[in-house]
């Protein structure tokens, strides 16, 4: 049927026809309305156009390389958090430590209506009694996180990694700071999609086998396999990262006290003069008070504009580029390096897969060349 003839058919009949053709293969491609009728864009009703946009936004297949890098960096950050926790396992989770189970239960009961027991049941740390058990569980958990980071059995290790990290967060939420909710968010979404479909040992082994079967030369690139699952996960991360920005902005501008220090332009001064946290001495800025105002309002402006501008294709690279120095400066001024790293990892979900793919191919080529030499 020609496109012209197709255009004369009622929309619903077109849709039914398209589905009828596809119904024999449930898992086969199911083209959307606009994809099935490319000439009909203008004939679509408003609701159908919205539906099309929705489908394109969520289900257009994309190269999973971005997701792969988000997995690697999230895994590394989670590993770092667990490594630093290894020094204080007994203090935070031991029965004789600072936060024995009874203390956590009391804290939950006071803090949240649901009580202490239900949430602590979700943490396997609640069932470990001796320092040996704690240490064994901790190092096994780190091993699983390492497998997840490397992309080995990713479907399984991603779920296990989420369980591991949530167990620590639920057991002692009073030692969690800004970074833990972001890590939980990233790990949760990475469980849902093909996080191991790129930049992983799983893929490397698969590709090696495929190359051997097809007798391809090492320099010959295999075709990229886009996945709609990767799109869904990346969109979830993108929206959630934007929500973090929006809420951070709202939390800043809605403060009370002696007047809002963010709106007065003083906030960064208070941040850099914290007596214990800053990594770098920025107090010289007191000689140029205007800089304090500029820095404070820049942070506010960035957090307000990021969720709006990052969706624009043209502005996205600029917004992402600005976010890097912004978070590095913030990390140096606040000492919250892991928080800044987590936000940057979340922002990575906005990076064009083609850009990351070319970087990845370039790195691989260099490694291959080095190996050959």
């Amino acid at each position: 049927m020609s496109a012209q003839a197709q255009s004369k058919m009622p929309v619903r009949a077109q849709n039914a026809k398209t589905h009828g053709a596809e119904s024999g293969t449930h898992d086969a491609a199911a083209p959307t309305l606009a994809a099935a009728r490319p000439a009909l864009g203008s004939d679509l009703t408003w609701a159908e156009q919205v539906g099309e946009c929705w489908n394109r936004f969520w289900f257009t297949a994309t190269d999973p390389v971005t997701l792969g890098w988000v997995r690697v960096l999230t895994g590394l950050l989670a590993l770092y958090l667990q490594l630093t926790l290894a020094f204080d396992l007994g203090r935070f989770f031991g029965t004789e430590g600072y936060l024995p189970l009874r203390t956590s239960i009391d804290w939950y009961e006071w803090f949240i209506d649901t009580g202490g027991e239900p949430m602590l049941k979700y943490s396997y740390l609640s069932y470990l009694r001796t320092p040996g058990q704690l240490a064994a569980a901790h190092w096994i958990g780190m091993g699983i996180l390492a497998l997840f980071t490397a992309g080995i059995f990713t479907r399984v290790t991603s779920v296990l990694s989420l369980i591991i990290m949530l167990s620590y967060f639920h057991r002692a939420p009073m030692i969690t700071s800004q970074v833990e909710p972001i890590i939980a968010m990233l790990l949760f979404y990475l469980c849902l999609g093909p996080a191991g479909a790129a930049v992983s040992v799983d893929t490397w082994l698969k590709e090696r086998k495929l190359r051997a079967d097809l007798k391809l030369k090492p320099e010959e690139a295999l075709p990229v396999q886009p996945r709609w699952g990767a799109t869904v996960v990346l969109r979830l991360i993108q929206i959630h990262v934007c929500a973090f920005y929006v809420m951070s902005f709202l939390a800043k501008v809605s403060g009370g006290g002696l007047g809002n220090v963010w709106l007065r332009g003083e906030a960064m001064w208070w941040v850099i003069t914290e007596p214990d946290m800053p990594l770098v001495d920025f107090t010289w800025i007191a000689r140029a008070p205007l800089l304090i105002d500029v820095w404070t309002f820049s942070v506010l402006l960035f957090e307000a504009l990021f969720p709006l501008l990052v969706w624009n294709r043209l502005l996205r690279p600029i917004v992402l580029a600005v976010s890097v120095p912004m978070w590095i400066l913030m990390a140096l001024a606040t000492g919250l390096t892991t928080y800044a790293a987590a936000m940057l990892i979340g922002s990575l979900a906005f990076v064009d897969p083609a850009c990351l793919r070319s970087c990845w191919q370039c790195c691989r080529a260099k490694f291959a060349k080095a190996d050959a030499q």
């Binding site: 958090l81 600072y98 203390t103 030692i175 886009p226 939390a251 220090v261 914290e274 892991t338």
Partner: protein, 282 residues
């Protein structure tokens, strides 16, 4: 995003049924998140109920974060302070402020460094005195100042912050301070029934005039021009004969009644030490 690759199963869009299921799950997920975040500041009954419905789901995923406090939502109704200014000035009432994390600072009482201190008998001195726990004491401070990496410091910092916040509540038992103090006593092998002082204090940020003093930088964390530590809460703690932590808020040591059968320190031994220990390096 790249354009979809035609006729390639993983690359093509999922079937209508799969999309419907995913769309439904997306709606549930974002409704839950939205209800929690949008109704952050609302205190109406409807808002509380709307927030509570998805609360459990988000709690499990550790997504039920109050962006003000950085801690999980307190799902109970939260009374508003009668006098925010008085609250700011009185460290005992700090917790009602609930200001915390993602805003980084609001220049308020919570936006400063908190420390937990436990005064324990100095083991060397005790040995010299033949087991007498009178007199000389040493102070265990959390977070320890030389702790590294920074992430470890941040955890203790957060714990001290939360202890301060929680213990400002007059109607709440000192949950965390008791736990931390008890842990320190056990860790340092302090014998049972020996009362020790435990306190939370805060170190405020400095004004430009204080910072601009010559030869001084923010790395001199405890320089003498920094504001004096401000005691937020003080109490007495000891391990009873069963090893359980006993805590008494803001009472002199000699007023703490040890459990029956335990050897109580004499009034002289247990003289109150209300003067805060000087911060390290001062």
């Amino acid at each position: 995003m790249k354009a979809p690759a035609a006729n390639d199963s993983p690359a093509a869009m999922p079937s209508q049924n799969v999309r419907t299921v995913i769309n439904f799950l997306l709606f549930v997920h974002f409704f839950s998140l939205g209800a929690l975040l949008v109704l952050n500041h609302s205190s109406s009954e409807l808002a509380q109920k709307l927030r509570r419905i998805p609360g459990y789901y988000l709690q499990v995923l550790f997504m039920d974060i109050d962006f003000d406090s950085g801690q999980p939502f307190r799902h109970r109704r939260y009374p508003m302070p009668e006098d925010p200014m008085a609250e700011r000035d009185n460290p005992r009432d700090l917790p009602r402020g609930r200001r915390g994390r993602y805003h980084l600072t609001q220049g308020e009482v919570y936006d400063c460094a908190f420390f937990v201190e436990v005064e324990i008998p100095d083991p060397v001195y005790v040995q010299q005195r033949g087991g007498n726990y009178d007199g000389e004491r040493r102070v265990v401070t959390l977070p320890e100042l030389d702790i590294s990496p920074k992430q470890r410091y941040l955890r203790y910092h957060t714990l001290a912050w939360e202890a301060a916040r929680l213990n400002g509540q007059e109607d709440v038992d000192p949950i965390l301070l008791g736990g931390i103090g008890g842990g320190v006593l056990r860790e340092q092998n302090v014998p049972r029934n020996v009362p020790c002082r435990v306190r939370v204090w805060r170190m405020l940020s400095r004004t430009p005039e204080q910072v601009l003093h010559p030869n001084e930088s923010v790395r001199d964390k405890w320089n003498k021009r920094a504001p004096a530590p401000d005691i937020g809460l003080e109490g007495t703690i000891f391990l009873d004969r069963n090893g359980q932590v006993q805590f008494s808020r803001s009472l002199p040591v000699n007023e703490v009644a040890p459990p029956p059968g335990s050897v109580a320190p004499s009034a002289e031994d247990a003289a109150p030490q209300s003067t805060p220990a000087a911060p390290p390096g001062v």
